[in-house]
């Protein structure tokens, strides 16, 4: 538990959105944040999702770090969406596990820097569960395996409530990352759990399973680690209400 995460009793609802367009998930986050601002008794929500291919920009932009043309992206049918999160340009796509915690940090007395640190810790522990040793790096936040980036963090805070979150590469096609300077950093390569997994590990390889099965494991790891790091009791609920 990072310093500053105290022992308040906390609880949250966890929803697996499966695959959902970035824009639709962003709207869902915005609605949830607004509901929580209006009524502080509405539960904290944690959304787990995979997005179809999309590039997103941070509040301060990052389009200068797109190194292919708009026409090229159009030909690939990939959108670029401007957001109000921290950080620079990034890519989301199938095979990447994304977690959006809509958490009242103010009410739960969790500091912003501790929250960012905790989200990185969730990815670090999940990577370790799959036999991959990853860590933070002085150059940039997020999670790294050597000089390659495995996961990213970027959040926004509105009236004390967090949104956006983390994205961790499990088994995505990494090619689209080569079309940007991820997070605004040049000469950075991206990696994934699948790419980094040691062939000598004794654990069953989730990447050899079907995608849904693999993501089900990742989801469970995220849920477990979020719960222990931030001291939350988490209840998973059906997604039907949120896909309506």
């Amino acid at each position: 538990m990072p310093a500053g995460i105290n022992n308040l009793k906390r609880s949250a609802v966890f929803i697996d959105l499966k695959t959902m367009d970035y824009g639709r998930a962003l709207s869902l986050q915005a609605q949830t944040v607004q509901s929580k601002i209006k009524d502080q008794y509405i539960a904290d929500h944690i959304f787990f999702v995979e997005h179809p291919c999309v590039f997103t920009l941070g509040k301060r932009g990052g389009k200068e770090n797109l190194i292919v043309s708009n026409d090229f992206l159009t030909s690939k049918q990939i959108d670029i969406i401007r957001t109000d999160r921290g950080g620079n340009i990034t890519y989301h796509g199938p095979g990447q596990a994304v977690l959006y915690p809509i958490v009242d940090l103010e009410k739960n007395k969790i500091g912003v820097k501790d929250f960012v640190h905790g989200l990185e810790e969730i990815m670090k522990l999940t990577a370790l569960d799959f036999g991959v040793k990853a860590d933070r790096d002085q150059r940039n936040h997020g999670l790294w395996v050597g000089d390659s980036k495995l996961g990213s963090v970027g959040i926004s805070i509105k009236k004390g409530v967090s949104f956006h979150g983390l994205a961790m590469n499990i088994f995505p096609d990494l090619t689209p990352f080569s079309w940007i300077n991820p997070c605004g950093l040049s000469n950075v390569t991206m990696t994934s759990i699948k790419k980094e997994r040691s062939p000598y590990t004794q654990k069953k390889d989730p990447c050899e399973s079907t995608n849904n099965f693999s993501m089900a494991i990742v989801k469970q790891k995220f849920l477990t680690h979020f719960s222990s790091i931030f001291n939350f009791t988490i209840v998973e609920k059906n997604k039907s209400k949120y896909n309506a």
Binding site: A3, G4, G58, K59, R60, D84, R85, G86, G87, G111, V112, K113, D114, F115, V116, H141, G142, V153, G154, I155, S156, I157, K158, K159, G160
Partner: protein, 132 residues
């Protein structure tokens, strides 16, 4: 994070439940984020401020503070017109961490309704809220 008793909260300032401070000693109110806010945000890398001449109603978002990988909205505690912004923060956002009450101030506001100043908290009331 700092313990509540370790926070630097000058006696002569007013405070808000969004962890801002306001110097209400003159005709123009100076506003910034307080020691609690800068501490829990961590290293601040960018500050987005309004323009001089912009007007806001109490509680409006007037800008944002970006710490590493996190953008936090900031809210104006009183209604009024922005008559000054801290241009030093464009090149040195770290001033908000290093000197939140002096070099790291954010904006100066000409109040529309001075009665709103009565709604701000003194140090004792703010500390009581924090300890909640």
């Amino acid at each position: 994070m700092k313990e509540i008793n370790d926070l630097n909260l000058p006696d002569n300032l007013k405070y808000t439940d969004d962890h801002e401070w306001a110097d209400t000693s003159g005709d123009v109110v100076t506003i910034g984020i307080n020691d609690y806010a800068q501490d829990q945000l961590g290293e601040i890398v960018f500050v987005e401020l309004p323009e001089v001449g912009d007007t806001f109603s109490k509680g409006d978002e007037f800008g944002s503070v970006e710490s590493v990988k996190a953008v936090s909205e900031i809210y104006i505690p009183i209604s009024g017109e922005v008559v000054g912004i801290n241009e030093d923060l464009e090149d040195a956002p770290e001033l908000v961490n290093e000197s939140c009450y002096e070099g790291g101030w954010l904006i100066k506001v000409k109040p529309e309704d001075t009665a709103e100043l009565d709604g701000l908290m003194d140090k004792a009331a703010y500390l009581a809220m924090l300890k909640g």
